[in-house]
């Protein structure tokens, strides 16, 4: 199920690690990037590819918060609410997004377009408040910036 180029990457990585089990996280990342989430089927596939029992893979997938067991909304907005962001108004940002999208933390919008979560510190405390969508950081947020961002993604 991994693409040709990802399979090549796996072969390259085998040379870098003394055990195949160490390739587990890298392979899970490849799957998630390809498919958006890590399904049961993908976990079985990974087990066969790396010769790891399914139970072990499930244990690892459930341990790490960034590995998604099921598909999330098209745009997954994660707002940092840890201390530095909280001190600089992440609460207001979150409230504003909840109002605009009509969903609360942990929900997916009806059109499947948006998912909203709060998140722990993301290493942007000096540019707080902030949110991420996928790999993209949006920092030094104001309500106006949030509005513009949501408009641009509509």
């Amino acid at each position: 199920m991994l693409s040709e180029s990802n399979l090549n990457k796996v072969e390259e990585l085998r040379k870098r690690y003394p055990t195949t089990q160490a390739l587990l996280l890298p392979v899970l990342w490849m799957i998630q990037e390809q498919e958006g989430c890590i399904s049961e089927e993908s976990m079985k596939y990974t087990g066969a590819l790396l010769n790891i029992p399914y139970g072990h893979i499930l244990g690892v997938v459930t341990f790490y918060s960034m590995l998604q067991k099921k598909a999330v909304g098209k745009h997954h907005i994660e707002v940092c609410t840890n201390v530095s962001c909280m001190l600089r108004g992440s609460g207001k940002i979150l409230e504003h997004i909840e109002k605009r999208l009509g969903i609360k933390i942990g929900e997916i919008s009806q059109d499947q377009k948006w998912t909203l979560s709060e998140t722990e510190c993301l290493g942007s405390c000096g540019t707080a408040p902030m949110l991420v969508i996928g790999d993209e950081y949006y920092e030094n947020l104001t309500l106006e910036k949030v509005d513009k961002l949501i408009d641009s993604l509509q």
Binding site: Y64, E120, C121, C125, V132
Partner: protein, 433 residues
């Protein structure tokens, strides 16, 4: 990210070396043109032990939180080992209030690579893994490009710079778990396990990655190595505080006008950092409290900051620690109960659950603090909270337990009145209902 102090003229004349004011330094051509990889060449002309000795004499201390002397740590590695040895560079950077390693990935990735190579040479390692938190996808790309370019230039891989020294550098991407920054959990995570900390002893220098001798160092620590080799231990050991010398990446966040990462010698006065470098508190409000080194470090009262400096000894004397040098400033209007509830919530969520005191204790503290926040706590809850924190401290496999206990303990010790006020109000409220 803001790297410029608010008030340039009046500050020290420190010329940045970890994050120098040189444009495009992340590109290998620019790095090479600015004496890049010169330290690697110099180190390869030295004996490995001489390199370790240089680092020892420099008095460099780890920048990952515990301030452990780096040279000493390196000397724990067995000299003659029939097993391979490994280096783990810790770029998990998930401690709330900490955002410095990310600047190294972004602005000076080759410095980190160069330091990694020198460390591998000094300790006889053939492989290094740079573990980076999963959320830093963008910075992983920047560092990966730098690594690829260094491979292409014969700086990583087989027979580096035509010597007999060979080593690989591989980025290992985390996937969202604060605990994986803890060194033994980090190794388990690389091995493809859940990120559970290991019981010590054995220590990593004896039994680390795949049971082989391993050293774990923070990204900023490793980035100091080329600076030490280039300039010599004498020069380095004279920067800042004697017992904790060198340039330090200090992060300032929270209620300041000019938040950012500021490179400065260790030992700068805390108040100077807040007022001069970080531009002071908005609205000229007073400072109620400061967390000096990331959320795990003990909170300080705003009225006890006079004379405190950013180094190991001074902060220890003040009843806190340098940690990751991530200063969080809270103005006079801050609701400290909300702050400590949020910090505790973080440790509760991130506890891996292996030890009962940490797993249960963080949950209990979180619950009690929610009672305070919602005005439903009783006066006895203050002592109960302290009791739970005391029972976590020192009774767990890893230091996450301590990291959860310290903020709570220090908050009660230094701001008991805040808890009492909440408890009184709640007592009054139950009476009128």
């Amino acid at each position: 990210m803001n790297l410029q102090p608010a008030n340039t003229e009046k500050l020290t004349t420190w010329k940045r070396v970890i994050l120098p004011d040189v444009p495009n330094l992340y590109k290998i051509d620019f790095y090479l043109a600015n004496d890049g990889y010169k330290a690697l060449k110099k180190a390869l002309d030295m004996k490995p032990d001489e390199v370790i000795d240089e680092v020892k004499k420099s008095n460099l201390r780890g920048r990952g939180g515990a301030c452990f002397p780096t040279g000493l740590k390196w000397s724990f590695m067995p000299k003659n080992s029939d097993k391979p040895k490994y280096l783990c560079v810790n770029g998990d950077e998930s401690e709330p209030g900490t955002f410095k390693d990310r600047q190294i990935f972004e602005f000076n990735p080759h410095l980190l690579i160069e330091g990694t190579l020198i460390a591998c040479y000094a300790m006889g390692m053939t492989a290094a893994y740079i573990y980076i938190r999963g959320e830093y996808g963008k910075w992983i790309k920047i560092l990966q490009k730098a690594i690829d370019d260094a491979y292409a230039n014969g700086l990583i891989g087989e027979k580096i710079l035509r010597t007999n020294f060979s080593t690989n550098i591989t980025i290992h991407r985390g996937a969202g778990a604060y605990i994986c920054g803890e060194e033994s959990a980090l190794m388990n995570s690389i091995e493809g396990e859940r990120g559970y900390p290991r019981v010590r002893p054995p220590f990593p220098a004896q039994f680390g990655l795949w049971g082989c001798p391993t050293t774990i160092n923070n990204v900023e620590t490793i980035s100091n190595i080329p600076i030490i080799i280039n300039n010599g231990w004498k020069w380095y050991s004279q920067i800042g505080s004697v017992k904790h010398p060198g340039p330090l990446l200090v992060g300032v966040s929270g209620h300041v006008n000019n938040p950012g990462i500021f490179e400065m010698p260790t030992g700068e006065p805390l108040l100077e950092i807040i007022h001069r470098w970080a531009g002071g508190v908005p609205g000229n409000k007073g400072i109620k409290a400061v967390i000096p080194g990331g959320s795990s470090t003990m909170i300080l009262r705003g009225d006890q900051l006079e004379g405190i400096r950013m180094d190991v000894d001074s902060l220890k004397a003040a009843g806190s620690s340098v940690g990751t040098a991530g200063i969080i400033v809270m103005d006079s209007d801050t609701d400290l109960i909300k702050v400590i509830r949020r910090i505790t919530e973080f440790y509760y969520r991130e506890s891996c659950g292996q030890c009962t005191p940490c797993r249960e204790g963080t949950g209990w503290m979180f619950k009690i603090l929610k009672r305070f926040e919602s005005y439903q706590a009783k006066m006895e809850d203050i002592d109960l909270l302290m009791d739970v924190a005391n029972n976590i401290e020192g009774n767990t496999i890893c230091a996450l337990g301590d990291a959860a206990a310290w903020p709570v303990q220090s908050m009660i010790r230094r701001f008991r009145d805040e808890f009492e006020k909440r408890a009184q109000v709640s007592h009054f409220q139950t009476m009128v209902v």
